[in-house]
Symmetry: C2
């Protein structure tokens, strides 16, 4: 039976390859990471952030997010999207962040991409092995899983890769 | 100085006519109401709800909302959109509702429509004259302002007309 320290791992030799887009949603910055899982090895294809113009209205910033995300989807054609899930936060900009997340989910759905969603603790558990892992422990795990020699930057991009890996491990 | 019982009213004789789309956001139902303010008199052009299919995923339901809203915008070409604003609610489906609201705001912004946002209390204050007005008092005020002989149905459509009227009174 799974416990908090238990990590499910697919049998990497028998599973079909898959391209996964991980998303760490936000209004100012949306982190994204694209991984391929060909041949039982996970490879990073791309990662980065969609940064929106702070001088524009909330609506215009969400238009930017939708447009850039459509471009990413057309470029990488992911077969699965993994998106970080929110519960109630206390931050003052939560409403904006959740609204922007809606635009992300809608845009993915428009392309017919299956979506899986994971709360932060589940991402830490899946990637670093325990739900209370620190940021640098998650980062190390992401680097190890993707055989990266440099840490992915910025943080939101690394987080998005962690979500993508979770989508793979938990599928 | 304005007080809680004070209502600002534009000088109706000197103000340019305007078409306003009011929106009461949601995931299961999005209320909408279109008013014209030609010649100092407010007229209802359309009202109703976008109802989404409960059997579909959240993403697909938001795709429906965006599509139907685009159709409404193309049909009525509003010059202003007024959207009900959320704060933190305790309802379990708040995240879904706020996400759907993001899709509404983004869709309006994509058409370059200016957006004004009002919290529920401000809508009640603007339409019924006091912020703690009951639902039927708001409904009566909406009927009076739009010279309707029948109450607009369903509730979400009536609420959307109240938001549209607030957009007009408070512009």
């Amino acid at each position: 039976m799974p416990t908090l320290n238990w990590r499910w791992r697919p049998d990497r030799t028998t599973i079909q390859p898959m391209r996964i887009l991980g998303i760490d949603p936000g209004l100012a910055r949306v982190g994204y990471g694209v991984i391929d899982t060909t041949g039982g090895v996970q490879t990073m294809l791309d990662c980065g952030i969609i940064r929106t113009d702070a001088g524009r209205s909330e609506g215009e910033r969400m238009v930017e997010i939708a447009g850039d995300l459509r471009q990413l989807i057309r470029q990488w054609r992911p077969e699965l999207a993994a998106v970080e899930k929110f519960f109630f936060y206390r931050s003052s900009n939560t409403i904006s962040v959740v609204q922007a997340r809606g635009v992300v989910i809608m845009t993915l759905a428009r392309f017919g991409i299956p979506i899986v969603e994971f709360p932060p603790m589940q991402i830490k558990l899946a990637v670093a092995g325990f739900g209370h892992a620190q940021k640098d422990e998650v980062l190390e795990a992401v680097m190890r899983e993707l055989s990266l020699t440099e840490p992915p930057r910025p943080d939101d991009a690394a987080d998005a890769l962690a979500v993508a890996l979770t989508g793979w491990f938990q599928r």
